[in-house]
């Protein structure tokens, strides 16, 4: 087990190296001028040269790459051109909000998706199954920005049931920052007003972000459940005289969840990345919006740093999934 984790961690380093190479070259190959974006089109040439030198952009690209890699090894992702702070510090500030949103939406999607999946497998071709099918097709085919806008239109603009954008209302006093996750901090500091307000704010973005995940989890759970229900050991369980409920929840579910767990891990990774659109629509102060803003002003270090960080989270999520796998399925013991 220990050796397996170690091997996986080493592999992860390789993957991250690959990601940083790709991101670095994509960012540097696109014909854009960060210095121009920073100083404006009319800056005097000396200032431009000085700025290029300061940012290391006058060096050949290999040297720049070497500098960047060396920085990463020291945990230094460079200085953001926009905020003038270390990128790592920016990530530490913005990531908790994204993480909170992702965790909230994965909880919603797993709970809803697994239940829908089980119901539509057990009551195959009933109205539950049809509802779940339509719900899922919509979920995987509607783009996040569209669902987001429609839900905002309905629940915020027309019905007025839920607040619009941001993490908190204007006049709510935010909790003292401990973890950076607003809901968690509200609980830790006992700021219940902020907790309630924060909860109302997170529902819509979390639902939007988690919708397609819910849909795919529901479909995979259904397919996997149907497959398991056809197996010999289910017949054995029934032949033992166990009730339908015990057969499904004790005997079938654990087997059926094995592929679902894989999907949940991959989904969690894509939630972090999907947050880019959702956060922009809902004005959520997370890493996704940070990266979008960085793109708009050609803030190279921030783009690269943010992307690399998300890749890191993605790999970690996958590692956790594979370890969970071993717990669920004894045939996979490492």
């Amino acid at each position: 087990m220990g050796r397996y984790v170690l091997r996986r961690l080493l592999l992860m380093v390789l993957v991250l190296f690959g990601v940083s190479v790709i991101v670095f070259f994509i960012v540097h190959v696109i014909p854009a001028d960060p210095v121009g974006a920073l100083l404006g089109g009319n800056a005097p040439p000396q200032l431009v040269d000085q700025m290029k030198h300061q940012l290391g952009l006058d060096k050949p690209i290999w040297a720049q790459f070497g500098d960047y890699m060396l920085g990463i090894l020291h945990g230094n992702l460079g200085i953001s051109l926009k905020s003038n702070r270390p990128v790592t510090q920016d990530i530490a500030e913005y990531f908790p909000a994204t993480l909170e949103l992702a965790i909230f939406s994965i909880i919603i999607s797993v709970a809803l998706g697994v239940v829908l999946g089980i119901l539509s497998a057990v009551y195959r071709n009933s109205w539950v199954d049809h509802f779940s099918r339509i719900f899922s097709i919509l979920g995987v085919s509607m783009p996040v920005f569209w669902t987001g806008l429609i839900l905002l239109l309905i629940f915020y603009y027309i019905l007025g049931w839920l607040p619009g954008t941001g993490q908190l209302s204007l006049f709510t006093i935010p909790p003292h920052r401990i973890t950076g996750m607003l809901l968690l901090d509200s609980i830790l500091t006992g700021n219940w007003e902020a907790f309630r307000d924060g909860l109302a704010h997170i529902i819509l973005p979390a639902a939007v972000l988690g919708y397609s995940a819910t849909a795919s989890i529901a479909r995979i759970t259904r397919a996997s459940m149907l497959d398991v229900l056809r197996q010999d050991f289910i017949r054995t369980a029934k032949a033992k005289g166990l009730s339908g409920r015990v057969v499904i929840y004790r005997h079938a579910l654990k087997n059926a969840l094995i592929p679902v767990v894989t999907l949940i891990g991959l989904t969690f990774g894509s939630l972090l990345e999907g947050a880019v659109l959702t956060e922009t629509i809902f004005g959520w102060p997370g890493l996704g919006r940070y990266i979008v803003n960085a793109l708009l002003v050609l803030d190279y270090p921030a783009i690269m740093g943010g992307t690399l960080f998300i890749a890191l989270m993605y790999s970690l999520a996958n590692l956790i999934v594979d370890l969970t796998y071993a717990v669920l399925d004894p045939r996979m013991r490492i």
Binding site: D232, F233, T236, A239, K240, L242, S243, P330
Partner: protein, 327 residues
């Protein structure tokens, strides 16, 4: 009542598939007494397994029992409530299957799976069943403590079948259905498993339905034999009578196709092939392959009548009186 333990009457089961309706059981008649051992033999696809699943009450979508009934100790299963049915499976009827490894849940330890059966049969908590689990595993000749903590994929086929037997017999059922319990195992293991089953059943006094297409195994293990063909029981008699003087042309053909040691005669097969049960032959389903077929064979299925004391057969060759009665 013909059998005081089990009486299957004119059971018809169909399966709805894309290809059409499979008429799997076409009025099966089967009965047996307590502590009797009945061999159910016939070719693959003749309805042996469907019969056994019907007795367990396990015919599910897309299958359906369209008529007939199964009486267990005189009680109609069609009229049983869900709870009664679960109770009957947990306490009175057990089953072991052909593929022991895939019949066990891959993510649960053997001990737990046996404990589950015991807790169901004796209405105790699963945790309280563990001493009994070890006893049962020992009874079937397994290293009880070690095996209890293993997962199915860590067992060989023979060990897994022993564990299945432990599970099935832990409720000391009135009836044990063994659906080809040895056909997935090595020959040497087959003998061991049949011996074990023989010994345990003799001790505990369970009635057994042994489903097999191996005539040798059936001859050795069973008191009575029922021969099935294409969804019907065509002949039922004591094991001796079946092998010494088979009456039904199908049984005769079947026995001719079994090789015997010391006999150099060429084996004789039955001409033709097993019928497609979506469009089965009319009348007696065996008539297109039968060397003695008469006109009426293709018109109406012959009833299962007692041709000699204790020897039942469904064939017009033996039904002179039966037909007079019918007319």
């Amino acid at each position: 009542m013909r059998g005081d333990l089990l009486d299957v009457r004119e059971l018809k089961v169909v399966f709805y598939t894309y290809r059409g309706i499979i008429k799997a059981l076409n009025g099966v008649e089967l009965w047996m007494n307590h502590e009797e051992r009945l061999g159910l033999i016939g070719e693959t696809g003749c309805g042996k397994s469907v019969t056994s699943l019907s007795i367990m009450g396990l015919i599910e979508q897309p299958g359906e029992i369209i008529s007939g009934d199964v009486y267990f100790e005189g009680k109609s299963m069609q009229k049983m409530s869900m709870e009664e049915l679960h109770d009957m499976r947990g306490k009175k009827i057990s089953m072991i299957f052909q593929e022991p490894v895939s019949a066990l849940n891959p993510v649960m330890r053997i001990g737990f799976q046996v404990a589950e059966s015991i807790s169901r049969a004796k209405d105790i908590k699963i945790k309280e069943a563990y001493p009994e689990v070890l006893k049962m595993l020992e009874l079937v000749g397994l290293d009880s403590k070690r095996t209890a903590s293993l997962y199915p994929h860590e067992l060989s086929g023979g060990m897994a079948q022993r564990a299945m037997i432990a599970m099935a017999l832990s409720s000391n059922p009135k009836l044990l259905i063994a659906d080809e319990p040895t056909s997935a195992l090595d020959v040497t293991i087959q003998a061991q498993i049949m011996e074990l089953l023989d010994e345990l059943v003799r001790e505990m006094g369970n009635a057994v339905i042994l489903i097999t297409h191996d005539m040798g195994v059936a001859a050795e293990f069973c008191d009575k034999i029922a021969v099935m063909y294409a969804g019907n029981v065509v002949e039922r008699a004591s094991t001796v009578d079946i092998f010494e003087e088979p009456l039904h042309p199908y049984t005769k053909g079947l026995l001719k196709a079994v090789p015997k040691i010391g006999q150099s005669k060429e084996l004789v097969g039955i001409t033709g092939t097993v019928p497609d049960l979506v469009n089965p032959p009319t009348g007696c389903r065996f008539h297109p392959r039968c060397p003695y077929a008469m006109n009426k064979c293709s018109q109406k299925m012959p009833p299962l009548i007692e041709a000699k004391p204790g020897h039942h057969v469904a064939c017009y060759l033996y039904t002179q009186e039966g037909e007079h009665n019918a007319n």
